[in-house]
C-alpha cells in the first residue's frame, strides 16, 4: 500500500488537532488539546481506486519546539493550511507558512481549510480575506471539526492532489 506523509500548518487553536481527531477517531472534544512537540496519526484513505496510508503530522506552535519545524516538513508529500473562520489574523499566519514552505523550494500540493464553519453566525472572516487567496489559485474548503462537515472531503481532496502529483 502506498504511504504518504502530510502535515497540518496554521496558527494556534485554529483546530488542527481537532480536525485530525475528527478524521481519525471520529470524535470532537471541546477541550483545547495542547499538542506536545509532534503528534503523528495514521489513517487509510480510499482514493482513485486505491488505498493510501496517510501519516498525519500535527505540531504545536510552541516556541520551545522551534527546532522541530525544520524537520517537521521534511519528506511531506503535501499539507493543509488551517485558518480559523473567526480570526482574520490566522489567515496571515497561514500565508507565512506558505511562504516558508516555498522558500524551502518545496512546491507541494496543499489545501486551505477555513475551519469552525459551524460558527457561521460568528464568522468574522470577510470575503475579501479569502478572495485574494482564491485569485492566487488556492483551493479552499470550509470545514468544521465540531460537526464533521467537509472533514473527510478535505482529506480526500488532498490525497487526490498527492496522487495527481506523483
Amino acid at each position: 500500500m502506498i504511504a504518504k506523509k502530510i502535515c497540518l500548518l496554521g496558527s494556534f487553536a485554529v483546530g488542527k488537532t481537532s480536525l485530525i481527531r475528527r478524521y481519525v477517531e471520529s470524535i470532537f472534544s471541546e477541550k483545547y488539546h495542547t499538542t506536545i512537540g509532534v503528534k503523528i496519526d495514521k489513517k487509510i484513505v480510499h482514493c482513485q481506486g486505491q488505498d493510501v496510508q496517510l501519516m498525519i503530522w500535527d505540531i504545536e506552535g510552541k516556541d520551545e519546539f522551534s527546532v522541530y519545524r525544520q524537520s517537521y516538513l521534511r519528506g511531506a508529500a503535501g499539507y493543509f493550511l488551517v485558518v480559523d473562520g473567526t480570526r482574520p489574523e490566522s489567515v496571515e499566519v497561514a500565508k507565512e507558512w506558505h511562504t516558508l514552505v516555498n522558500e524551502q523550494s518545496l512546491s507541494l500540493p496543499f489545501v486551505l481549510l477555513v475551519n469552525k464553519s459551524d460558527l457561521f453566525y460568528e464568522q468574522r472572516l470577510k470575503e475579501e480575506n479569502l478572495a485574494e487567496l482564491t485569485t492566487m489559485g488556492w483551493e479552499i474548503i470550509l470545514t468544521s471539526a465540531k460537526t464533521g462537515d467537509n472533514v473527510d472531503k478535505a482529506f480526500e481532496r488532498l490525497t487526490t492532489r498527492l496522487l495527481e502529483k506523483s
Partner: protein, 551 residues
C-alpha cells in the same frame, strides 16, 4: 614533580583554598571556565546519548506509550503459555517475580534470555514512513508504523539540535527493560527492538545490514513516493538481525534442600531486618544527643556498622563529647567523635563562610553588630528564608537583621505577569454556570458569578497588553445532559452559551473577544447528569512570545 606528601597536603586543603580564593576574586571561575567548556563539548561529541536522555522526556512519552502497550501484550501472551506449567522451578520463579513486583512472564523472559531482538524496522529517513518490518516469531509491535514516524521525529530533532556534530545521531532509547537500538544511514534508518541487554553483536549486525540495504535499494530510497511493495524483498536481508542469545540453563536443586534454605533465609531476613531497624534508631539517637548539646554543631558523619564516625565543631567551653557519650546507650555502635574546637568567637569565625554556605554572590554582604548578624546588599526571597531558618545561624547569632538589605522576588516582573495570566486563566476556566432542566434558564444564584468573571476578564485584557499576548478569545461553550435527542441537546446547549454571551456583553465586554457555541451532550462526560446542564469557559490565546507561532 610533587612528592606523595605534597599531593596529600594539597588534597586536604584544595577545596578550602578554592573557597577562600573565590571569596576575594573570581579568578578561580575564570581559570576553570575553559576547562569546563571543553568538558561539555567533549561530552556532547562523545556521548550524544546523554543529551538525548535530557531531551527524551519531552517527546518520549508518546513513543513510550505505544511500546509499553506492545510490551504489555507480549507479556500477556507469555503469561498464558507459562501459567499452565507448574514445575518446581516455575514456582520459585513465580515467587521471585512476585517479590520483584513483576509479571511472571516478564520474569521468565528476563531469567532465560540475555537478549532477544523482537523486531527490526526499516524506515525511510526523509519521510519517516515504515518500509518494512521483520518480526521474531510471536511478537508484534502494536503499531510499527506510528513508532517509525515518531522515531524519525525524535532523531531528526536530535540531529537538528546538534547539527554541528554530524555523527551525534541517536543510538538507542531505553524503555523499561526494552531497548530500541537505532542505526541511521544516509537514506534509511534501521531500528531493532530488543528485550534484555544486547551485546555489541546487535549493533554490528544492524550496521552491516543497513549498509547492504543501502547498496541494494539506493535508487528506491531516493525515488520513494510512498509505494512500499518493493521493500518486501528486504526481508531476507533483515532477518539476520533477529538475533537471540539464551542464558545457560541450570537444573533446579533438590526441592527439600531448597525449601530448608528458603525457610532459613526467611527467618534470617526477619532477624536481620529487626537488627537493622534497631541500629538505625540508635544511630539517630546518638546523633541527636550530640546535635542538641549546647555549643555543638555536627559537621559530618559516616558509618559502616559497627563503626560510626562523627565530626563536630564545638565551643571550647562546651562539654567534651567523651562525657556525653559515656552517659549514652550507644547499642551496637562503636562511636568515634572527631572534635574541632571552635575559636572563641564563633560569630566572627562563621562570618566569611556564610556566602559560600548559602551560594550567595557578591551582591549580598554580611557584617556583625554585637551579637547580631547584619545582611546588606540584595538577595532573593528564598535566600532570605534560607538564612532566616538555618539552625546553625540561629544558634550562633542572637538574630539576623534584614532591615538594610533589598529583598527582591524570585521571579522577574515578566515571569510574574505570565504567572498572573496563568492563574487568571485557570480561575476563569474553572467557572461553570449551571442551568435548570430543559431550558436556557440559570439555576438561581448562578448569575452572581458574572461580576467576578467580568472583572477577571478585564484583568486578562490589560495583562494581554503588557505581556504581550497579541490575540485571545474567550470561548463560551454550552452543554446539555444526556436526556433528549442530539439535535435538541445541541440547540439547548447553544441557547445556554448565548445567554451567558449576552450577559457578558451587557456587562460591557467586547463582543469581538467572545465566541459562544453549543457542544451538545458530551458522551464521555464524567460529570453527574445535573451538572452537565452548564456553560463552561475556555481562554484561547497566542503564545507569550510575539511571533512565535509564525514559522
Amino acid at each position: 614533580m610533587l612528592s606523595q606528601s605534597d599531593t596529600e597536603r594539597i588534597a586536604t586543603t584544595i577545596s578550602e583554598a578554592i573557597i577562600q580564593r573565590n571569596l576575594s576574586d573570581k579568578s578561580v571561575a575564570q581559570a576553570l571556565a575553559p576547562i569546563i567548556d571543553d568538558a561539555i563539548d567533549n561530552a556532547i561529541r562523545h556521548r550524544p546519548q546523554r543529551i538525548t536522555r535530557v531531551i527524551y522526556p519531552i517527546i518520549g512519552p508518546s513513543i513510550r506509550k505505544s511500546v509499553a502497550r506492545a510490551l504489555a501484550d507480549m507479556v500477556q501472551n507469555l503469561n498464558q503459555i507459562l501459567e499452565s506449567s507448574l514445575s518446581i522451578r516455575s514456582w520459585g520463579w513465580r515467587y521471585q517475580a512476585w517479590r520483584a513486583g513483576m509479571k511472571y512472564g516478564e520474569y521468565v523472559l528476563l531469567k532465560t534470555l540475555d537478549f532477544r531482538v523482537e523486531q527490526v524496522l526499516l524506515i525511510h529517513r526523509e519521510t519517516g514512513i515504515l518500509l518494512h518490518a521483520e518480526n521474531a516469531a510471536g511478537f508484534q509491535v502494536e503499531d510499527p508504523e506510528l513508532v517509525s514516524s515518531m522515531l524519525t521525529a525524535v532523531s531528526d530533532f536530535i540531529s537538528d539540535s546538534f547539527s554541528r556534530h554530524p555523527d551525534s545521531s541517536l543510538d538507542n532509547i531505553r524503555v523499561g527493560d526494552f531497548i530500541l537500538e537505532i542505526e541511521t544511514g544516509p537514506s534509511a534508518i534501521l531500528v531493532a527492538a530488543i528485550r534484555g541487554t544486547p551485546s555489541k553483536q546487535v549493533s554490528q549486525t544492524l550496521k552491516t545490514t543497513l549498509e547492504r540495504l543501502h547498496l541494494v535499494f539506493s535508487r528506491e530510497f531516493d525515488r520513494f513516493d510512498g509505494d512500499r511493495t518493493i521493500f518486501a524483498s528486504a526481508a531476507d536481508l533483515m532477518r539476520p538481525c533477529l538475533l537471540i542469545k539464551h542464558k545457560e540453563h541450570t537444573r533446579p536443586g533438590i526441592p527439600w534442600r531448597a525449601l530448608t534454605m528458603l525457610a532459613f533465609f526467611i527467618g534470617y531476613g526477619f532477624w536481620a531486618g529487626y537488627l537493622k531497624v534497631q541500629n538505625e534508631i540508635m544511630y539517630l539517637h546518638i546523633l541527636d544527643a550530640l546535635q542538641t548539646s549546647p555549643g555543638y554543631v555536627v559537621v559530618g558523619e559516616s558509618r559502616n556498622m559497627p563503626r560510626l564516625n562523627i565530626e563536630v565543631l564545638r565551643a571550647p567551653t562546651s562539654e567534651p563529647s567523651r562525657e556525653i557519650l559515656n552517659r549514652l546507650d550507644t547499642g551496637n555502635w562503636d562511636v568515634a567523635v572527631t572534635e574541632h574546637i571552635a575559636p572563641l568567637d564563633m560569630q566572627e569565625y562563621l562570618l566569611p563562610m556564610i556566602p559560600s554556605m548559602f551560594h550567595l554572590g557578591r551582591d549580598t554582604n554580611f557584617t556583625r553588630d554585637g551579637q547580631a548578624l547584619v545582611v546588606t546588599g540584595s538577595l532573593k526571597e528564598t535566600q532570605r528564608n534560607n538564612l532566616e531558618q538555618n539552625p546553625l545561624l540561629k544558634s550562633v547569632y542572637s538574630h539576623i537583621d534584614f532591615s538594610s538589605v533589598e529583598v527582591y522576588a524570585d521571579q522577574t516582573p515578566e515571569e510574574q505577569q505570565k504567572n498572573e495570566w496563568r492563574q487568571l486563566k485557570a480561575t476563569i476556566e474553572n467557572i461553570r454556570f449551571q442551568f435548570q432542566p430543559n431550558t436556557a434558564e440559570l439555576v438561581s444564584g448562578e448569575e452572581q458569578k458574572i461580576p467576578a468573571l467580568v472583572a477577571n476578564i478585564e484583568s486578562i485584557r490589560s495583562l494581554a497588553e503588557k505581556i504581550p499576548v497579541y490575540h485571545w478569545q474567550l470561548y463560551i461553550v454550552g452543554h446539555a445532559n444526556s436526556a433528549g435527542t442530539d439535535t435538541a441537546n445541541l440547540r439547548i446547549s447553544e441557547e445556554r452559551a448565548k445567554l451567558i454571551n449576552e450577559l457578558l456583553i451587557t456587562n460591557h465586554l467586547d463582543a469581538e473577544l467572545l465566541l459562544a457555541w453549543g457542544a451538545g451532550n458530551l458522551p464521555n462526560s464524567r460529570l453527574p447528569e445535573h451538572q452537565q446542564r452548564m456553560v463552561s469557559l475556555q481562554l484561547i490565546h497566542s503564545p507569550f512570545i510575539p511571533g512565535t507561532e509564525y514559522p
